[in-house]
Amino acid sequence: MSEAEIQQEYSILERSRKNPTAFGELYEKYFDRIFNFVFRQTDDEELTADLCSQTFLIALKNLERYEFRGVPFSAWLYKIASNEVNKHYRKQKGNKVFSIEEVRIRELIEQGNDSSDEESIQRLMNYLKELPTEMLQVLELRFFEDKDFKEIAFILDITESGAKMRTYRALDRLRKNFNLRIRYDGKE
């Protein structure tokens, strides 16, 4: 995100503090991304719609408290959404769901020399299943949401080096098991 875009968003936020209707612009801009992010962690359309609406409501309520910390405004929305999803699972006391698009999995596998047959997809799914939630969250933000480490650290409330370490560990195992050519920074 360029400096000009961040500046433009900040001016929308300033206007939204005085007049909440102005927040609509940011709502329209980020709704789809937040929806997909939450849907990937719930796999339930109605629940996602509820959590998404709750996310924007909390953002609107706390606009006064928002302060720029070197990451785009969207990172703040992701952070709220992530907290709402965690809160939901804490209440439910169930296993966390990660619903991944088959297309993205195939893209990942095809980055290596393996063909993306059903067997390798299944192996990757089993591997992901065994990963701790914290690692999955980092991988999701890094490879499905294309977030940089600074944003990931902000969203998950961890240090930047912690985010890098988690990604590195998860990717190391992924490379060994699947012969993938994903680089540490997420690019092939």
């Binding site: 709502y27 709704f31 796999d43 609406s53 088959e102 297309v103 939630t133």
Partner: protein
């Protein structure tokens, strides 16, 4: 047993389908309702604080009045029984 449940989705959610859940008007309504509730709650809390302080003030006032009347009564009793007068300190006449 896995720690997380991983599901494979055949298709990505279409933006048209996501758009069905997008409703800024409804969000604004909820926000305004929340703001109203927060304002009412704050007013009620302020009112309760003022009421509490007022009751404390009344209780202190009443306690002071009671103390004064007890003191007056004891002065009168003392004067009647032993002829004491109070003019800054007790002295027998």
């Amino acid at each position: 047993m896995g720690r997380n449940e991983i599901r494979l989705r055949r298709q990505k959610m279409s933006s048209g389908r996501i758009a069905q859940h997008r409703n800024y008007g409804q969000l604004m309504e909820r926000h305004e309702r929340d703001v109203k509730i927060r304002r009412i709650t704050r007013t009620v809390i302020y009112f309760l604080i003022v009421l509490f302080l007022f009751i404390v003030f009344l209780l202190v006032k009443r306690w002071e009045n009671n103390r004064e009347s007890v003191e007056k009564t004891s002065v009168i009793n003392c004067e009647i029984r032993s002829g004491c007068t109070y003019s800054g300190n007790w002295s027998r006449t």
